[in-house]
């Protein structure tokens, strides 16, 4: 019995070594003639859109039917990058994926989770350098693998409630972080029991999507990685300065009070509902993306607001006018069943002027191709123009892409949350430890 068992184990080990490999399917682009007669077929598209945005995007995706009557699109919302990644590794990917998190692009390109689109671009003779502004390639390719293309771009700017500011005698938005902190304290109103009624500015990291080390760090020009590609969170003093600024604002109002205020508002999820703190007048100033203009309109919020460039650190005023930019990216997952058809859809969503214009208008996002950027009528709205200017500003940037996806942001975010709660006695030591941990993560791959 025992000998047989050993033999069984040995066979199993052998089998493990032999069968573990994945079938690699990289070859020349299998393009199809879109005008040829085609059987009706359905493509599944995943995105993390919900509610109104989901409808807008679905509408544009379905408009592919006008171009290719045989193509039907099934759009599934609520799929974040984790879900997309899981489906690809699980062998059940959608035909096209829309991701909000450019951080993952390097990972998608490096692991081959998203297919290299260069072969399709070449087959269709598309000169990508002339179609998109150069900045777009910083978050859609990695080591010359163009595994994604931009759909629309985003920028984070400052939103402020004109009425709340006016009530306290402010007519101008803050331009520096010390002005911001100053105004935030004056704008914060309290209830009788000491709890917060109106927050001037919510400094809590990890609250809404604008409350990240990324958005705050940009105001200091803080660098994630040094020239050698090593994490520089402890060596670039700007990070520590940023965290000190953030903590001093949190402490001035009170960490517990801010947390309770956030929790009672319905937590971070209120960001995507009509109970959003800014839309309901409970937050006077915030950093958020250009899409918020559409949410405010759609939620029928009565907030009287304006937008401005994000404030910068006092010693980095040269950065004023720039901000954190990013975008929505499109990719064809590995293992997609109809890659040639997926490419037709992707090309349509990434380059078709009509589709992009409708999307940009519907979602209130900044269009991505040179052509649509020129033509857009969204610039007529001063609230929106802020964001178009931010995207055009050469100092605007996204954090450098690394093959570990957003693991570095996650880890830094967690440190930030501990820090603001007062659980980090030695910040410099903690940042050093974080650097070494990120470096080790990069090794693990």
């Amino acid at each position: 019995m025992r000998r047989r068992l050993i033999a069984l184990v040995a066979v199993a080990l052998l089998a493990a070594a032999c069968t573990a490999g994945g079938g690699d399917t990289s070859g020349p682009a299998a393009t199809i003639d879109p005008n040829a007669n085609h059987e009706p077929m359905t493509l599944t598209v995943w995105s993390n859109f919900s509610a109104r945005e989901l409808k807008v995007t679905t509408g544009v995706l379905e408009s592919i039917k006008q171009k290719y009557p045989w193509m039907t699109v099934k759009h599934v919302g609520g799929k974040d990058d984790a879900a997309i990644q899981r489906s690809i590794n699980g062998g059940t990917p959608p035909d096209m994926a829309i991701s909000f998190t450019p951080s993952f692009a390097a990972r998608y390109c490096q692991t081959g989770a998203f297919q290299d689109l260069n072969k399709y671009l070449q087959a269709d003779k598309i000169d990508k350098a002339s179609v998109w502004p150069a900045g777009m390639f910083t978050y859609t390719q990695h080591n010359n693998v163009q595994c994604a293309l931009p759909m629309l771009t985003d920028a984070y700017g400052l939103y402020y409630n004109v009425d709340l500011l006016g009530k306290k005698g402010f007519s101008q938005p803050p331009k520096t972080l010390s002005e911001l902190a100053d105004m935030a304290k004056k704008l914060t109103e309290y209830n009788a029991d000491g709890s917060i009624k109106v927050a001037g500015f919510m400094p809590i990291l990890g609250f809404y999507s604008g409350n990240t080390v990324n958005t705050y760090g940009h105001a200091y020009g803080a660098q994630w990685y040094d020239n050698a590609g090593k994490p520089s969170l402890s060596t670039d003093p700007n990070w520590a300065k940023m965290l000190q600024w953030q903590k001093s604002l949190v402490d001035a109002i009170g960490y517990d009070k801010l947390q309770k205020f956030a929790a009672k508002m319905g937590g971070g999820d209120s960001e995507w509902s009509a109970s959003h703190g800014f839309e309901t007048g409970k937050i006077a100033m915030m950093l958020d993306g250009e899409w918020r203009t559409a949410f405010i309109a759609a939620d029928k919020s009565k907030v009287n607001y304006a937008t401005a460039f994000p404030p910068t650190a006092d010693d980095h005023t040269d950065l004023y006018g720039s901000g954190q930019v990013g975008g929505t990216i499109l990719g064809i997952p590995k293992g997609a069943k109809h890659p040639a058809e997926s490419w037709l859809l992707l090309k349509y969503m990434a380059t078709d002027v009509g589709a992009l214009t409708t999307l940009a208008r519907g979602l209130r996002n900044v269009p991505s191709t040179n052509e649509t950027l020129e033509k857009t009528d969204l610039a007529a709205d001063p609230k929106f123009k802020t964001f178009i200017d931010l995207v055009k500003n050469p100092k605007s940037s996204y954090k450098p892409l690394v093959p570990i996806g957003d693991v570095d942001e996650q880890m830094f975010g967690t440190l930030g949350q501990k820090w603001q709660a007062g659980q980090v006695p030695d910040l410099q030591a903690a940042l050093r430890q974080l650097d070494s941990q990120i470096a080790k993560q990069l090794q693990l791959g």
Binding site: V9, A12, G22, D80, N89, G266, A421, S436, G445
Partner: protein
Amino acid sequence: MATVAERPGAVPEQVRLAERRRRRRRSALRRQGIALLFMSPWIIGFSAFYVYPMAASLYFSFTRYDILSDPVWVGLSNYQFMFTGDGLFWQSVRNTLWIIAFLVPLQVAFGIGSAIVLTRVKRGLSLYRTIFFLPTMVPLVAAALGWLFLLNPAGPINRFLHLFHLPEPLWFYDPHWTKPGLLLLGLWMVGQTMILFLAALLDVPSHLYEAAEIEGAGPWQRFRHVTLPMISPVIFFSVVIGVINGFKYFTEAFVISQSGDQTGLDNPIGYPQDSLRFFTSHLYQQGFEAFHMGYAAALSWILFVVIMACTLVLIRGSRRWVHYQGGFR
């Protein structure tokens, strides 16, 4: 078996014996065949779902692997990263040890306590027992969601605390209070442990109590010197099972993090601030969200070793307590 029908003396003795031996061998072989046929589902299942995966998992633990491309041999570096590079691993170990250190003793104490209450009521015992046991029947996911609601910052429990002007923690939003929140959930679901103790308590022969009472032992002394020694095997069993389950702790934490983290943007494992990142959560996240399959396999082997050690303790210990239960004076 069919030898009854044979006529004696018709064939020479030797031939008959050889014939019988052959037949017996054939029937044994036949029986072996039938038995293996009956065993076949398990044999297939055992090789496909245990032997092969165990071996493969060991192999993967020495590789870098993400399913999309072939595994790459990296030697011990996954294990090295685990112990020296992965801060979140240690965070998950700390959280796991925390929940074991608090939940297991509390469950045992509360289980004994409520079982004692049950032994002392005569009328309505079965009703009380059903009520005490009922929460255990609630599916874990439903129970976790229920407590997420009960402990939400504006929820019923905080309103109750407010009535008495007690501090109102943010529970599952505040990293300091998440694990205590889980303790409440764990104590609510103490039924299984309680039923075990109830049976053990009812098994204690009443003459022992009577003897102790005659010797002048008070209630505490009776508990300390009669009850505790008598139920100690069950305590031991509960503790070890509790420790093993502690290492597998996952569902409650995952559900609460998932539904508690409402930004819907970041990874909810361990939310808030990794305070609910347990060993198995970390394994899940590394393996099936980050797709570090090699590293996850290494984590699973560490888990295997730890749990096997606990199981050995259980088996060793059980030998001892089975023995002295049989031979008590």
